[in-house]
Symmetry: C2
Subunit: 681 residues, 2 copies
């Protein structure tokens, strides 16, 4: 028997003799591993995280942490064969393992990429725009995100030991918070190997991650307002944790993602014979059988128009009849085992509760034919389909989850009824809708979005690129209200911010510039340097400013520009028509003429570190420029983001001013600039 | 005695005989009003909110609700004299009343304005950008916000009966959620009059607001996953509510904003004689005396460099000695009464606890001279300043809040110590820092932001426009971690989203366009209409597209443009230098030349509904355009936002394509377009 150790304060210790929990092979029932959290000193673990892990991680920028996560993803990708080797012992097929193992590694890659694209190469991230809270702009507001200074406690579920660990770890590490990871016992042997690989990679700083299998001891009693508990598991356990007096009284941030009674709705337009009907059948069957239905996002309630109930049932049964249950290592098998016999017995009990109300129309929870395995020793169960007689009278179908290959058909009348039935689930992680009608989709979103963390709308146009009803994506929020736990995970950088504090900072433009390392309008500028286009990316400082000479915009310029470009819009060409316009007193210069002249005024023409103009943001024309007006430009380095060793992006704040020094146009210009020592600098 | 009724399901009912609670005049101690929640049927109240108020509000767009809030603000502003008349009975001076009454009305105005500027004139708001979750773009992700379908229960504090009601109501109404408002009993007579005015205005739809004074009965037991409880008050009450089994098990969204041990830090650079030193003294004294210190944001801990402790104490005492306590209706009075004698006795008790550890250096909690009032009958207390001997050894100063004109001086050594002392408060609504140094500010933000909802950084540059340490602004988040309740309110549209659900929607471009009423790239376009520049704002449909003819970009064009504008950047002019650039194979067209030609290609020159080009967003140059390349433009109506009866903003998606139909540039163009029937259409 494998001994699953604990990794606390940088040291692996074997499981104590006391408090041991045994893990069994899902297919053979054999005892394969043992763990124990007895004797673990959680005070030491927290101190290690807070005193070592946190400071190490916070010393890095978002980009440095993102690169670390990418390196970890690459390392794990090389070694994932070791994880696949342990995968069948959880009852999972290779396809199931792909969701868990490759899906988890992919989540690291996506977070590494988003961390570098959507967060700054800095220690503080911005939330929203500058708030102008004063008339003259000497006192401004800016919301910022900074890392929490405690520890993130990750309590993971048994069904996805790898994905579950990595989908929580990626945003936590990028936020700059250390983690203590507690896997669910039944599959801790696989989580443990993954964690060992993370430690073997030697890519994370000391104290960034710790691991304890078997129990949380007094860990929760020791947390405070800088700590986070991120829980995935049953709704009952989540409620139990929410009652924890220590968590409440010391203001511990708590988030839960729990199983829910997710629905799939066949749209009223998706009649038999339409592609949407076929997609629906396929999706319900797939969600019932992937991971043997042990997915918190699986379809538990399949809602279909009453007129098509029979057709759906027949099509679904035909599909389910083809499912091959058995040893997941046998290639013919399409559905493996549940994680263990205890879990299978629980599912059977829930099916009994459900089937009192909703008769079984396919399958038998107590008997299943399996190939290449012993059905008495392995945790096998075949797919079970029930049918509800009256969705509004029924109760169990909306509140009882059988966490296995189990689903129930429910008929509905009109869309309002369908939405009401979806919402009876009391909050779901995800609901899906199969429709080709924009009106149907818009109405269902209006009626059901508030009850769902995710809505998956599928039809013929998206069929080839569908990602699956039950698949959370790192880009999208995973979580849901009410029964689904009321929490949120993932969702790109949203998930990172769960491990950070949002703070409103009020200060002068100079102070805000110092805090955010980003030039804030109104802050001091640096004007005693050579032209900023002559300075390489690394030398250039935030606030460096070029003030251009003046150039008059003449009527001849406007007419010439109109003729050259073809932009003969009346406001530039026709004095009377321009005057009749509520915004102008007469012919005005083209906005694009101003932009073009502005570039002519600020550009340094000779080859130098500026490589390309890559874009422009937030351009606003603020004051019309009439013929004869002299304009000049102020160009200020607002922000810098290194992209690689060769170049980085410079964001310039540009103001086009008239002879009264009032802004006619204001925008942010983007250029790619060579770095110090790069070939093109 | 005034009878304070309850307003449930559209009907005012007088307080029942049972369960009565009496309100007293803060200055005279007289009984002035009575309320009771006995007999209120909260089931009826919730049903009314959910069945009437919610649907009525959700039928409106964000802009319609924002206009309703503005109308309410205008109405209340006309009638605010009635509120000021009741204000002295709460113990508040006119200046205190200004924060409560005008501050509350101002919050409505800000929300009305932000609702129209930052939210769409639609039913669904977007969160973030489209997520490209598929390779070919046939299946996309978009996070959306939709209103929760339950009721918001607002449990307000006694200190700001008007502001407290309106700062919760503004975001709730704009979100589209109905509210049940429960004011704190001691000042319910003022909250009641404000609520009566709201009903008298007749501006809100049926069921949008209800009012109950005196108790919440079984209200909390009846809530579910679509409901919100927004609580303001003591940390102890918040913890009590958090333990509420019904709230936990039915997934009720709960947010709390509680009193906290807020700190003000005198920066190490802010030595005596600097403007920052004087600003600090003024702010600490002001925060102690405004509202007689009954502010959840007041400065309870004043942190000063050890070297300047004596100077600070003397300056502060000199200032506090000038405070005139008494009847708030007397113009000489600078600090009124606490809200009642019970509250004053509580403050005295907390001062006793605190002063065991931190000796009093100014004031006497048990005796105060007052003018124009009877100190025995009114709830008076003079300012009390204490001094802590050792901030790290002390405990009470960091956990015990005397909710009155009370503060404690604490000395610190270096910045790290100052930050550690701030953080000992276990989470605050706000901390302030008085410094003129960007380095000091940046270090303190890094060290303390995670423990604070707001950081107020003040110095000579912002002094004239400071908004006050203790003043939450509608633009900025109000709330804080840990001891401060762990919740968030306000913060502009962030506060609106507390009453909405965020949902990740996955669908095809066409379906997302139908759901969001905003054209999504990849969705169908409408190309069989007249040129979109000839169609007025109201007639123009989302998706209408103009495809321009081609135009070749010649080397002569590039040279001519360079000469005309002065933009002779080497990548356009010098073949060898351009080739040496990592992004180009040779001379390329100016980005601004492409924009200008694009406008020339899509513009319809004759006078028509397009009034002006107002700006441009998210321009990205994606592919270099070399001399000889023919380009053309696709211009699509992406979004429309009415601004007034005369015109509205149209957001166009613009793609500049080359002869391989690949995008060279992509951007969003903004124009202001005349509405149907407007003078200029």
């Amino acid at each position: 028997m494998k001994e699953i150790g604990n990794f606390i304060a940088g040291v692996w210790t074997p499981p104590a003799e006391g408090g041991r929990r045994v893990m069994r092979h899902a297919v053979t029932g054999e005892e394969i591993a043992v763990c124990s959290a007895a004797g673990v000193d959680f005070g030491v673990a927290i101190a290690h995280a807070v005193e070592k892990g946190g400071p190490h991680l916070r010393a890095m920028t978002f980009h440095e942490r993102a690169r670390m996560v990418k390196a970890l993803a690459l390392f794990l990708n090389e070694r994932k064969g070791e994880l696949y080797a342990l995968n069948p012992a959880t009852g999972a097929t290779t396809r199931d393992g792909w969701i868990d193992i490759d899906g988890g590694i992919q989540t690291l890659f996506v977070y590494a990429s988003k961390g570098r694209r959507e967060l700054p190469d800095k220690h503080v991230a911005l939330d929203g725009e500058i708030e102008r809270i004063s008339r003259h702009g000497t006192f401004l507001g800016q919301h910022v995100w900074t890392p929490l200074q405690g520890v993130a406690v990750h309590i993971n579920a048994f069904n996805f030991p790898c994905w579950g660990m990595l989908e929580k770890l990626a945003p936590t590490l990028i936020a700059g918070m250390p983690a203590i990871i507690k896997p669910a016992t039944p599959t801790a042997f696989l989580a443990h190997r993954l964690f060992e690989l993370i430690i073997e990679s030697d890519l994370l700083p000391e104290g960034a991650v710790q691991f304890v299998a078997g129990g949380a001891g007094d860990l929760l009693d020791r947390l405070g307002c800088q700590d986070v508990v991120a829980f995935t598991g049953s709704a009952a356990t989540a409620d139990h944790l929410r009652h924890h007096t220590g968590l409440i009284e010391r203001g511990v941030r708590f988030t839960a993602e729990t199983d829910s009674l997710n629905a799939a709705v066949l749209g009223p337009d998706a009649t038999p014979g339409t592609p949407e009907f076929d997609l629906f059948i396929k999706e319900v069957a797939r969600e019932m059988t992937v991971k043997a239905g042990q997915k918190c996002t699986a379809i538990r309630r399949a809602l279909v128009p009453a007129a098509h109930l029979d057709a759906v049932r027949e099509a679904l049964i035909a599909r389910l009849a083809k499912v091959v249950v058995g040893n997941p290592e046998n290639e013919k098998v399409t559905m493996g085992a549940l994680v263990g016999c205890r879990q299978r017995d629980e599912v059977r009990e829930h099916v009994r509760t459900l089937s009192d109300e909703n008769p079984i129309v396919f399958g038998d929870p107590d008997h299943v034919e399996v190939i290449d395995a012993d059905p008495e020793r392995g945790a096998f169960m075949g797919p079970v389909l029930m049918q509800c007689a009256d969705g509004f009278a029924a109760r169990r179908v909306h509140d009882t989850e059988a966490f296995g290959p189990v689903s129930t058909l429910i008929a509905y009348g009109d869309l309002e009824e369908a939405a009401a039935l979806v919402n009876r689930g009391g909050g779901s992680l995800v609901s899906s809708l199969f429709t080709h009608s924009g009106e149907v989709a818009a109405e269902m979103v209006a009626r059901t979005a508030a009850f769902n963390g995710r809505l998956y709308i599928m039809n013929r146009d998206s069929a080839k690129e569908g990602t699956g009803h039950g698949s959370p994506l790192p880009h999208l929020v995973h979580g849901g209200p009410g029964h689904a736990g009321g929490g949120e995970e993932l969702g790109g950088v949203r998930g990172v911010f769960h491990y950070m504090q949002r703070t409103a900072v009020q200060a002068s433009p100079d102070i805000l510039t110092a805090i955010t390392d980003r030039w804030v309008p109104g802050a001091k500028t640096i004007t005693d340097r050579p032209h900023p286009f002559t300075r390489d990316f690394d030398t250039l400082e935030i606030g460096e400013t070029f003030v251009s000479p003046e150039r008059e915009v003449s009527l001849a310029d406007i007419e010439h520009f109109a003729e050259f470009t073809g932009d003969t819009f009346y406001a530039h060409m026709d004095e009377d028509a321009a005057k009749a316009n509520p915004f102008f007193d007469g012919r005005v210069a083209h906005g694009y003429l101003l932009l073009s002249f502005a570039a002519g005024l600020f550009v340094e023409p000779n080859p130098g570190p500026v490589l390309a103009n890559t874009g422009l943001d937030r351009l606003r024309f603020m004051k019309p420029v009439y013929p004869g007006t002299p304009i000049h430009v102020e160009l200020t380095v607002k922000d810098k983001t290194p992209r690689n060793d060769e170049y980085g992006e410079v964001r310039w704040h540009v103001r086009v001013l008239d002879d009264e020094n009032e802004a006619c146009a204001e925008y942010e210009l983007l250029t790619m600039n060579a770095r110090a020592g790069a070939t093109n600098a």
